[in-house]
Amino acid sequence: NSSYQLSSVPLQILFYINGIYYIFYFLATLAMIVYKSEVFSYPDDFLAPDLALLFIMAILEVLRLYLGSKGNLTEEEAPLGLSLVMTVGSVILSVYFLVWQTYVLKADVILNALLLFTYGLESVLKVGAIAAFVS
């Protein structure tokens, strides 16, 4: 049936799972930042960038998932390509939370590793979908 339908079903499923996982990731990271600020010495100069980047990442993620989903369903490569470019930004932010955050707890490592794995899988599928749409 792939001659009629070019949209990638695995990609769509992955977008859906990504959305739910990201909500969980956002709430968990926010809660852990609050926990860290209570338990450890977390001065304002270090707390502000971490929180700001978390919120930026949330906004970026919403846009990315929307564009990607729209591009996949309407079989257009432009939004999907834009979504791929935004994935790069999300990856960088995730790496920040994995390595360059003020306090990296074991839970942070697990969450971010999972997120990076999801991004990697998505990127591969997006490239495949773009190839399918273009050709």
């Binding site: 360059w100 003020t102 990296v104 074991k106 839970a107």
Partner: protein, 525 residues
Amino acid sequence: VAKLCVCDLLVAQCDVNCCCDPDCSAADFSLFTTCSVPIVTGDSRLCSQKAAIYSLDVEANPPERIFKLIDQVNPSLFCIHTTNYKEALSFGSPQMPTSENFDQLLKEFEGATFSAEPDSWNLNTDAQSPSDANETYRYEYGVPIQTVDAFLRLPSPVVSSWCSDANPAGFLVNQATKCTRSVSVETCGNIQAVSMLFYINSSILAKLHEFLFQVNITVQSVVVQSLNGMWTSLNSSDVLRLPMILDELCINIVLGVSYHITYTDAGEIIEAAASFVLGAINKEALSIQQSFEISFTQVNTKPVPLSGNPGYVVGLPVRAGFRPQGYPFPVEILFNTNKYGQLTVLQSTSNQDCLAAQGARTPVLFGYNMVSGCKLRITAAMKCQPLTQTLLDLLKGQTFPEYVASFGNSRAQDVLDWVPITHFQTSEQRIYNTFQSSCQIPISLEIEVKWTKYGSLVNPQARIVNVTATITTTTLKQLPSGRERTIPVTSSVVFTDISSPAEPGYKAWPTINVKLPFDFFFPFV
């Protein structure tokens, strides 16, 4: 971690039971019983860290120390994997002051408190200081009064009775001090503190730290004390009299200074006046006694001497006054401005003769029970009525007040704050004879002041509740002519504490107010 040792206190010597001490040899380890420090680790919140474990193997003969370096793993999910904040897990080492950062460090740490984030606090203090600028420049109670060069001095005795010139006068602190100064005729010109100039030289700053407004100290009056103690007031008080040697005497030596400072309610000093007592010393004198006094008056008010605020202070005179006649509702109580002249009793004199006492009275001081008296010589020629009047004048004085203030700071306008003095009259001998044809003369006055503790348990204030004045009379028996009799006349003041014991009040225990809804047991009720 292997090099850290908390129990290694003695340098180059082995500490007992300290297994990590590098100064200990194997022979020393064999003498230990336990290891006081079994494990040395870094911060345990890290996910994986090195730990040095020290233990004693008591099975082996001789016992030996076992040292193991292992990786300790924190199993918690929230263990710290890495940190990018270098001060996170250790105490910050303080900056070493150098000549460059000294000023900044001083500004940061010189206050009574400082926080870890000095920048955020600086914002607050900057916002506050413009409004505080006016406030910090006014004098407050107890602040030393500043003059152009240092502060207003009130020499007072320190440790011994010798004068120390380093005692500043505090704002609104009325003080009177007496001290001894060593001075002789030869040195009287050189000692600054016995010359008038020393006390009026520098001007007082009207506001704290502001050199713009200065108040000169004016000489209000000068009294000259002669060698035999007689005081003469001088008319011209604007001439500065410096000590000088005249006929083997040194004259114009300052024996007493009394400062009167006038202030406004904004905490500014607007006037300062000094009254001097100058004296002279002769060749034999080696030291003089100087007395200093300072008093403060608010501008445009008459000084009302308080005997306590609000409760009476022990040792201060009881305030008393009169209700002006002719008013149906008393508006104000009038009292003598001399606080020591309001309620007085007879003062005992050395010769104990009542009539020679010349009306000497002593003020009634709160809390001080007093007994005083004198002896009256009665001759046959004395008539009853004039004698009674004389004795009454003696006991009560010329102006015996009608009201006593219940608090030390009762105002004249608050008539209800003043307690009337109730008078009683009793007789010494029980006379069943209704014809009191014989003469009754008063011979004793007893003033009983009942006071109570008023106010909080922690800081009770003394409040006068009741004052009674009891005159005891006795019969004057007619004397045969030519005879004389001496009768003692006494007056006493007693202060009685009638305060009821304090009852501490406890807050009621909170009750649980639970009401079930009225149809809770619906099917059954």
